[in-house]
Symmetry: C2
């Protein structure tokens, strides 16, 4: 059970914690809201293969038809719905899933082919543009839907459809004579084939995933040409043609297809594609025959992971600095907003980071070499760049998660999107989230262990050898700092609890002298657990300032507490007029913690307040000029107005309470010269 | 004589000043070097209309053939050569001009058409893509060449060719039935038609310029469609097709064609196109019948000018923050380098700013309302973003003028470019520069005046009424702060000398109590001049820190002295390893002025040295992380190494002495917390 999508069934998330409450919202509202949207937009019926008016629309983003992803929208909703159905019966949801599956089954062509666009709109052109047209991306999501469906219904209904389609894809693509030596522009089928193999144990499913993963980036794969250039030539494309999002006609790095994955030096291109691809690749390294895997394959994953985390990740866990290609920019290019030159930080990319992290952790757990830094990133994403993507009421979503608003891109969520990958993605993630919390593998070895990767109030059941164990953690994490553990049944395992990298202290109660902290995991030996089946762990959370690396050139800081990154919003700070661009803070001033309850969310969170440590330019700044003397800037700063209390809200809860849409995560520090004057004037600073 | 291109003949630039020495280099090296390049690359012979191997090459930037601008490359060389020939006989240059003109004359088609690409490579397709294919841009440069040629040869040889071509264009484009209601994607012909009208006084030349300028941006100009969409449809283009530099398929703001110029709220798009266009538009407002011009037309020019200067201009005078479209980004988006997300600052755009500024000044001078801020910008461009584009030896050039280098874009000049607009542009500007220095108009009015817009050692002759006056300024500006004036002949005019905005003081010797400083011009009355035909003006130059506006979010400063912006280079500061990204300075530390002579340039310039006011991170910084605490960053800063002397060089002289190509204009200020520690440690700060 190597996948969160399957292992989540062993975990019961308690409803009375942040994640639990979000799941309750999904079951109360989001599932049905998204189902309604599927129906209203035409997606629900699309597998009936009738013409829909949308098919005549001009693409929002040339040359991608607006309905191109409808297969996956339906697939992801089925997948997420099935995760929730697995643990919570909901007859209306169940009926919709069954009706959708009926329609999908009937939409399959006699030879196994299954795709709305290429069956209804562009028949006869299937597999002629795997670079841009998302056929296999859609297939991948339907495979994931089929696996989730199988978990609930166990009737093979959707799975058999997808097995037949996979057979066709397997016949079409591969290294053989007469086969297309191609691979999908948007990875997704790779990770779904890995999971399919885990279910079927059919080696051809593993082999096809491997083929897609290792053929990718071959400069001479098809008749001596790069596959994407070969197929463009075969289509007779104008060589000058490129899609809007393609940086230049041969920028195959957009698809991570510029060279074979194993030798890619840095993480590049579209960030969702990258994380989905590398999640599958990491999984493949774990599963594939050891003879095939050399150290350089693993090294590639660590190299790309660290390149992403160390040089291309926002303090929120978000990735993707460049909007044009929804992806990575230069190293240390991390603008906060459109006005700073970018910031995309797509919801799906943050979920992709979690998917990749969970595969990295599984690889490490099998080798008994867990590294807490990987799970730290997973948690950072979850509590910040992922959770921020859904409104308190579960009916509004974000696509990109900028770190600051601007006049042309205010801070808000939307009811839906033409390309609607993000809303069902957060929904299906919350459905399977239990699979991310606990790491529970190798229980038949001589030294079984259970890992706690995330602190989420939940109960986990597993077998240690042949004996059942039930282990629970109870906590109001990430708001509160204490986790109560309790074990029933077998205690014949080591417990490896991640201690977050930001923690300065951790206190076990009762004390455990045998606990060893190594690489971010605190190992509590089985012997101690046997005599201490109930214990608590406290990891004190003090507000702290985090900062983007010096190499970004940004002299800014963000406020964090525990795993939560905070932002400022106009709702709490009504005076703001410029998206907090000219709000300056003093990192030495005290930060107070105030518990706040907001009725609309039901959430009690610790609001943070910076006391007497904020100055803001009190009126609209005068126009700039290339001739401005620094002394003028300094005088402007000296004239800044003191704000006695700057109020912060968790980034994940932003934009839930109305307001004008002004928001910022990283704030500028008061320059030294301005501060000097304040000292001279005897003001607090 | 409203144009620098014609009025320059009244000014003799003294060879013993910075501009004079640059002109000497052009005459000794650049003219012949560029002529050699024209010959080696095929441009020189291209008007023979034979096939050239380059025509088979794949475009560097789809869909623009690499040879598309060859007509203009030849035209600009002829134009620049003729400006120099006007004042300095050079038999070999003269022979080349005459041979080129012979070839151009023979290349003209019977109906007047004249274009290399559409005659040789794509016959039958003329005027089918005026948005992208630069036919009229090329024509405009050939008109300018013809006018310059006429100034030297007065034989109508090239001019008659261009008049015939203009007749064809005039027949083809216009508001009439059966005419194309189009206008060129790259403006240039508009300003050349205005100058042609000044020469011919043929109202159809003015009318055609006006048509292009006022039809531009009409959303329904051609059969109810925007002209660019109409012609794309007519060509049968794939609606998904867009050139690489076009942000999206309908981003007509790239060409300043998104709405009529008069109502454009902000300056947008490709910066060279914008400045060429608005130079012509400003000129048109001055020349056109007053009945046609309403205040809103003038207001548009001031609005767009101020939007550019106040919110979209670098401290060097450079414009164009975004590389993809070589143009303007969001307001206050002014990244210094590729690593910061952009910075283009094209040479031609800075020259375009000067062209536009000179038209704004002429408009103001006719209304007797000179505003020194306009000329301040003109001077800022000249001494910084323009002069920096040519190497000391006159044989290497820049295309873009970033404010900081980076690993993927080191600081260097190039021998040539495939698209070679910039090298001949700086050459032709230096040929006519005398026309920018003095403003000499309205001499038949009751209150004649002569303006001094720029301080460049030179002698200017003009008629005041019927009496000749010869006025000279002698100075080592911009390096030295004193200008000696001397007048012979008529003194019956007011002298209006611009006092730069950065000046804190100006001293006339002998004293002139009657002088009045208004809007940046010091008016010295005729009566005083009559008794003081020789006098000096001193404008003390102290090094000063300038800063991008606070709204940019950059807490950086640049060092300036007088009109010169400085930068730091690795040549002077060998320790640099990271393009000065982690070099921090203290604006309170003293800046020393050291005169430096560099034999290879012959230039004696004041180098600036910041003493005990620089700290640099002494080794490669560790990798970043989204989890970095600010305290870690602060500790890194506290560990920075003191650099006793940080050496600065004028930005215009950068990259002339070898080195690794590390350079930066704007440097980060030491954060307050780091500085505090230094104070505590008793270090100078």
């Amino acid at each position: 059970m190597a996948y969160p999508q399957t292992s989540f069934v062993n975990t019961h998330i308690h409803p009375e914690c942040l994640i639990g409450r979000r799941r309750e919202v999904v079951m109360a509202h989001t599932l049905r809201y998204q189902l309604d949207v599927l129906k209203q937009t035409g997606r629900y019926d699309a597998f009936k293969l009738k013409w829909h008016p949308v098919y005549d629309e001009e693409p929002l983003v040339w040359p991608i038809p607006n309905h191109l992803f409808w297969d996956s929208d339906v697939g992801k909703w089925i997948e997420g719905a099935c995760y929730f159905l697995r643990q919570h019966p909901m007859p209306d949801i169940d009926a919709a899933v069954q009706e959708l599956v009926e329609m999908i089954e009937k939409a399959q062509q006699p030879d196994g082919y299954l795709n709305i666009h290429y069956t209804v709109v562009a028949p006869g052109k299937r597999f002629t543009n795997v670079k841009d047209m998302h056929e296999m991306y859609n297939a991948g999501h339907l495979i994931e839907a089929a696996l989730a469906h199988e978990g609930v219904y166990k009737n093979g209904k959707l799975l058999n459809v997808m097995l037949k389609y996979v057979d066709l894809i397997d016949k079409t693509f591969g290294p053989g004579e007469g086969q297309l030596h191609g691979y999908p522009g948007h990875p997704e089928i790779e990770l779904s084939l890995m999971r399919l193999y885990d279910h079927t144990h059919d080696p051809k499913h593993l082999a096809l995933a491997r083929y897609f993963l290792t053929e990718r980036g071959n400069p001479t794969g098809m008749e001596g040409m790069h596959y994407y250039e070969w197929e463009a030539k075969k289509r007779g494309d104008d060589p000058a043609f490129k899609p809007a999002f393609y940086p230049d006609t041969r920028a195959h790095w957009y698809h991570q297809a510029h060279e074979p994955i194993v030798s890619q030096p840095t993480i590049e291109g579209h960030s969702v594609r990258a994380t989905y691809l590398f999640a599958a690749y990491t999984d493949m390294l774990r599963v594939a025959s050891k003879d095939d895997i050399t150290p350089k394959h693993g090294a590639a994953m660590y190299r790309l992971w660290h390149n992403m985390v160390d040089r291309k990740m926002y303090v929120t866990g978000g990735i993707g600095a460049v909007r044009q290609w929804e992806g990575f920019g230069a190293e240390y290019f991390l603008p906060q907003s459109l006005d700073d030159g970018g910031c995309y930080s797509e919801t799906c990319a943050a979920i992709g980071v979690m998917m990749w992290a969970s595969q990295m952790l599984k690889l490490q757990q099998e080798a008994n070499q867990l590294d807490g830094k990987i799970a730290d990133v997973m948690e950072l994403c979850l509590y910040n760049s992922v959770l921020t993507s859904m409104s308190a009421n579960g009916k509004e979503f974000t696509y990109h998660n900028q770190l600051a608003s601007s006049h042309n891109d205010v801070d808000k969520r939307c009811a839906w999107f033409t390309v609607a990958c993000c809303p069902p993605n957060i929904m299906r993630l919350l459905g399977q989230i239990g699979g991310y919390v606990w790491g529970s593998e190798n229980h038949n070895t001589s030294s079984p262990s259970i890992a706690v990767h995330l602190f989420v109030s939940s109960t986990h059941e597993t077998l240690i050898g042949n004996e059942k164990t039930t282990i629970s953690q109870t906590t109001q994490w990430p708001w509160e700092d204490t986790v109560q553990f309790s074990i029933e049944g077998s205690k014949n395992f080591d417990l490896k609890i991640r201690i977050p990298g930001w923690a300065t202290q951790h206190v076990l109660q009762p004390e455990c002298r045998e606990a060893v902290l190594q690489s971010g995991y605190l190992t509590i030996p089985a012997a101690w657990l046997a005599s201490n089946p109930k214990f608590s762990l406290k990891i004190p959370m003090k507000p702290r300032w985090v900062a983007p690396p010096l190499q970004t050139g940004q002299d800014v800081v963000a406020l964090a507490r525990g795993s939560v990154i905070y932002c400022v919003e106009d709702f709490d700070n009504e005076w703001v007029e410029d998206h907090f661009k000219t709000t300056f803070i003093d990192t030495i001033a005290p930060v107070e913690v105030h518990n706040t309850t907001k009725s609309s969310t039901g959430e009690t969170w610790p609001a943070l307040v910076l006391k007497d440590g904020c100055r803001v330019l009190s009126k609209q700044l005068e126009d700039g000029s290339p001739f401005t003397n620094y002394s003028t800037v300094r005088d402007q700063l000296r004239g800044a107005k003191a704000i006695p209390a700057l109020k912060f809200v968790p980034y994940s809860l932003r934009s839930n309470r109305g307001g004008k849409g002004h928001m910022r995560v990283c704030l500028r520090k008061q320059p030294r010269e301005a501060a000097h004057t304040q000292l001279q004037n005897g003001h607090a600073s």
